[in-house]
């Protein structure tokens, strides 16, 4: 082992000789950490949520005289507001978490948990948002024709179209979300799991 230690020390000294460049500035943005990338995507999701809420406010301005449509828009707005509130709390909790100064095992477990958590959030959101958005669009278009929920009669053609969309498009989109998560993050997650496992052996 003495030989190895000597070689190691030579390698160490070699780095000192080779690296004379002083660090004068540095990037203040993370690019290589999965969690940081996911956090940025999550933040973008929050902005999109806020954007959709603004769209609903604008839409409601065109229907101030239609209480039924306002009720429909209001319900969806409330759902988005609740999602925004819950997601924001989750986001700020993540943001406040200590950085990479924990011991390695704790860090890896927390890191893995957070990555899985964000991905689960994305999946659940796609599970709810897509069917709900579709239903809202159908109800909204019907209310514009029939004025109130009581008068609303679903034509078989519309019912069939909605049914087909719900049965085919929604599962397809959900499968796509799950598949894209699996292919996009599989290697990262496997590597994290391997590292955690290697510490527990």
């Amino acid at each position: 082992m003495d030989h190895l230690l000597e070689s190691w020390n030579t390698f160490d000294k070699g780095l000192e000789k080779e690296e004379n460049r002083r660090i004068e500035n540095f990037s203040k943005e993370s690019t290589g950490l999965l969690l940081e990338r996911l956090k940025r995507t999550f933040k973008m999701g929050l902005y999109w949520n806020a954007f959709f809420m603004s769209c609903l406010i604008v839409l409601s301005l065109f229907h101030l005289g239609d209480p039924q449509i306002l009720l429909l828009i209001g319900s969806f707005f409330l759902l988005l507001a609740l999602n925004l509130l819950y997601s924001s709390m989750y986001y700020f909790k993540m943001k406040k978490e200590p950085v990479l100064t924990d011991n390695t095992r704790t860090l890896l477990l927390r890191y893995y948990k957070r990555v899985i958590g964000i991905l689960r959030f994305e999946r659940i959101w796609s599970l709810f948002a897509i069917p709900l958005g579709l239903l809202l669009a159908v109800l909204y278009s019907q209310l514009r024709i029939y004025v109130s929920f009581n008068e609303m009669v679903f034509e078989p053609k519309i019912l069939l179209t909605t049914g087909i969309l719900l049965v085919t498009l929604v599962p397809l989109v959900i499968i796509w979300v799950v598949w894209s998560q699996k292919t996009g993050y599989k290697k990262d997650l496997t590597e994290l799991q391997d590292s955690i496992r290697s510490l527990e052996e």
Partner: protein, 169 residues
């Protein structure tokens, strides 16, 4: 403390210990592009954790911890990782080189670094800390595992190194 003063203080600390970062970067990357990215990422992570550093540990230990943890979770998007050489391949390569030239420092150093790079990320962490003089207790504390587990792992890694580099010969 103003941001500029804080940044100057931080850069001064980092510059004093930048060799640690270079060492980790060499051991955890395979190409120049990744080297630069990991280097920047480590400095950024050190900067993020700088306000919480309270001199409870040595500066070098803090930089080591952040650097190794960053290297452990660092992975560039859409970048294919080079397949590490197997222990047998490294050992054979080293033996071939020895057959044409006597043992020299450069050869051994290069084989040692290649061998360390062929280990798993956590094993690389243990041997790096050990070779840099950290004791089993300190390594165990930094990694969040028991001292016994650290000792077992270290023994296994050393045996692997000896086998690859044929140290007994």
């Amino acid at each position: 403390m103003s941001k500029i003063v804080r940044e100057e203080g931080f850069l001064s600390v980092i510059n004093q210990h930048r060799r640690i970062i270079h060492k980790i970067v060499v051991l955890y990357t395979d190409n120049d592009c990744d080297k630069e990215d990991l280097f920047q990422e480590i400095i950024f992570q050190c900067w993020r954790s700088y306000p919480s550093f309270r001199n409870e540990s040595k500066v070098s230990t803090w930089i080591y911890k952040v650097s190794l943890n960053t290297a452990l979770v660092f992975r560039k998007k859409n970048r294919k990782k080079a397949t590490p050489q197997t222990e047998e391949a490294i050992s054979q390569q080293y033996a071939d080189q020895l057959s044409v030239a006597p043992v020299n420092e450069n050869l051994l150093q290069s084989a040692l670094i290649t061998a360390i790079k062929s280990f798993g990320k956590t094993d690389r962490m243990i041997i790096t800390l050990h070779l840099d003089g950290y004791g089993n207790t300190e390594i165990a504390h930094m990694m969040g595992i028991s001292v016994g587990n650290t000792a077992v792992k270290l023994h296994r890694i050393k045996e692997q190194l000896k086998s690859i580099l044929k140290e007994d010969k």
